[in-house]
Every structure is written in C-alpha cells, then in structure tokens.
Amino acid sequence: MSLIAIMELVTLGIGLVKTGLLSYLEVKGVLAKYQDKAATPENVEAARQELLAAAKIPQAVDDPKIRALLEEIGVDPETLRIGS
C-alpha cells in the first residue's frame, strides 16, 4: 500500500472517529446536568427543550466563512436568504 493511500486512510479514520466522538460529546454535554436529577415530567421536558435548542442550525448566509466566500465570487449573501 502506498504512503498516499495510508495517509488517506488515516485522514478518513480521523474524520470518522471525530464525527462519532463529537456526536457523543455533544449529547452527553447537553444532558450532563440531568445525570443526577430525577426524571420528573418537568425535568424530562426541560432536557427535551435543551436538546432541541442545541439541534437548531443557523442559516448558511449567517456563517462568516460562507459569506466571505460568496462575496469573493460576487454574490450578495442576502439574495440567498430564506425568510426575513
């Protein structure tokens, strides 16, 4: 196996592990404070709302990197915005 193939494998492996690990840590992080709290209906609902708040995704046109790349090619990011 060539060095390039090995390097590609390592890069892909790191990406895969990182993706799984980030998901793991994200869920664990959001729910950490509920580990020792009784599962009352109020606590379960609060945890549910926190997970959902964390799951929301900002629009691409609000991402500074994406805005800069769009402007670089002469596209006004605001023309791609959905909603107000």
């Binding site: 998901s23 994200e26 959902l52 995704i57 959905i82």
Partner: protein, 130 residues
C-alpha cells in the same frame, strides 16, 4: 480496495459504536427523549457536510457556481430543519415535515458528494433506514 476495506472496518465500527453510544447517553429515566438526542446527532452530521463543502470551496475544489448551488441547497435544508425542530418542540411535527427535511438533505448530499468523498461514511445510523 480489499486492503482499504479491511483497514477501514475497525474505524467504521468504532464510529458506529460511538454514534450508538451517543443515542444511549440519555440519563436513566430520560429514555423518552432519545429521539431528540438523535436529532442533535443529525444536526452535527449536517454541520460536518457544511464544513466539508466550505473547505472544498476554500481549497478550490468546487467551482463558484457549484458552491452557490450548495449554499442554496443548504439554505433550503436549514429552513426545513428549523421548521421541523420548532414543530417537534411544540409536539406538532408531521411525517410530511420529516420527509421534506430528508429530501432537502438528500439534495444537498447529492450536490456536495463529489467534493466531500467520505460523506457516506459520516451518515448517522438514524437516517440510513429512511
């Protein structure tokens, strides 16, 4: 290719195991919110796609018009996703809303797949059955 697959198998297995662990990370008694935990995982998966196509553009691997198409598809998915999340919050989500989310994610994946080759391996288990 066989060498590639055999070397990849343990890594893929570890990733799937970690993803499965993530869905098991709800504390005891909180099992009712596993679906919400899965939604958070999907949003992380999507953010990986976004980071992937942004990097592809930065590295010059995507043409400007392809990048604009990807951003448009991203915007459509994000809009559908956030509507869906709000509906789940209010417990008023429907199958049709979820279908819109999955379809718009599929369009984005289709567009950026050529520039983010390991996209399929990053797909969370939850979406595979849909």
């Amino acid at each position: 290719m066989r060498v590639f697959r055999s070397a990849l198998a343990p890594l893929l297995g570890l990733t799937l195991l970690l993803a499965a662990c993530a869905s098991q990370q709800v504390p005891s008694g909180y099992e009712a919110i596993k679906t919400e935990a899965n939604l958070l995982e999907v949003s992380k998966y999507f953010q990986g796609i976004r980071a992937g196509y942004v990097k592809a553009r930065q590295d010059g691997l995507m043409a400007p018009e392809q990048f604009v198409l990807a951003v448009k598809a991203d915007q459509s998915f994000t809009a559908a996703w956030n509507v869906y999340i709000e509906a789940v919050k209010a417990k008023k989500d429907t199958v049709q809303m979820w279908t819109t989310v999955v379809n718009s994610l599929g369009i984005l994946e289709g567009l950026v797949k050529a520039w983010v080759p390991d996209l399929i391996q990053k797909k969370p288990p939850m979406l595979m059955g849909l």
